[in-house]
Symmetry: C2
Subunit: 168 residues, 2 copies
């Protein structure tokens, strides 16, 4: 279920289609299972606490991090989702009074997104569940191992660092 077009660089493809080595296959399997497991844990904890799903948090956090009203297109990239997905996500969040769409004078095609006070409050409240859940899911490894893990993953994906945490 592709959430978005792959951002992997298309390869130069001067070599024949290749079967992954056994270590690569093991890493692939582990990546799929473990990421699903930890995601599920966090989502389940949020649900148990009657909070919306993580993507709502992420939208609110990105808006908060930006510190100013932000275009959907400038959110879609870091959020790694497709425009129409964000459009409907914002529909629901706006219906819940968490964000508002405000007119964008510079470009009348779009608009700017801004969290409401309720939106700020919800994000902060969700962090109270999100943070411990993340720690429960990921805390089984030492910090040094976590850094190594992040390094290896980023070597795979080559994606710029993005903060997610609360910081107050």
């Amino acid at each position: 279920m592709p959430l978005q077009q792959s951002r992997l660089k298309s390869l130069t493809r001067n070599s024949a289609p290749k079967v992954p080595s056994d270590p690569i296959q093991r890493a692939w399997i582990a990546l799929g299972r473990v990421s699903q497991a930890v995601q599920c844990h966090v989502e389940n904890e949020l649900k148990k606490a009657d909070f919306p799903e993580l993507s709502w948090y992420t939208v609110l956090w990105e808006l908060e991090r930006a510190g100013k009203p932000t275009r959907p297109k400038d959110l879609a990239i870091p959020l790694f989702i497709l425009p129409y997905q964000l459009s409907r996500l914002v529909d629901r969040m706006e219906a819940d009074g968490l964000v508002k769409r405000i007119v964008c004078k510079e470009d009348k095609r779009g608009h700017l997104l801004e969290p409401t006070p309720k939106g700020f409050a919800l994000r902060k409240a969700m962090w109270g569940v999100y943070a411990p859940a993340m720690d429960e899911a990921m805390g089984k490894i030492e910090d040094k191992e976590a850094l190594k893990l992040a390094e290896l993953l980023n070597k795979l994906g080559g994606i710029e660092h993005v903060d997610c945490a609360d910081k107050g």
Copy 2:
């Protein structure tokens, strides 16, 4: 969106809710983004080749690996999905003539799942796209790094090893 109840052991919880360390947070972010990126890449490649999504492959592969007609409940665990999700997945695959449900004499509640010849053929054909896509997505790291990555991930998730590859 939790695909299934978390399989993480519920913790003894004798410590206060904790904010994850910065390395843990970095690993969490990297895990989410990179796993999404590589999953998307593979799903997109399958779609471009007019193949069904990866979960279909995985069902067929697990059935093939089992080597005998298999109960849904015995698939749901390794597939890491909920019973009702598998039920509908099998509905669609059966409608496409890829698997069949056959009666289970020992336990008339359920049934046994078996790939059809068309199912076997599809899985093999999909591997021709799946394998190179996996390698493109994951081949940026050396085998030694891949093993380290798998090791770290499995330390996080503690999930038993499951094969996925073709092997013929």
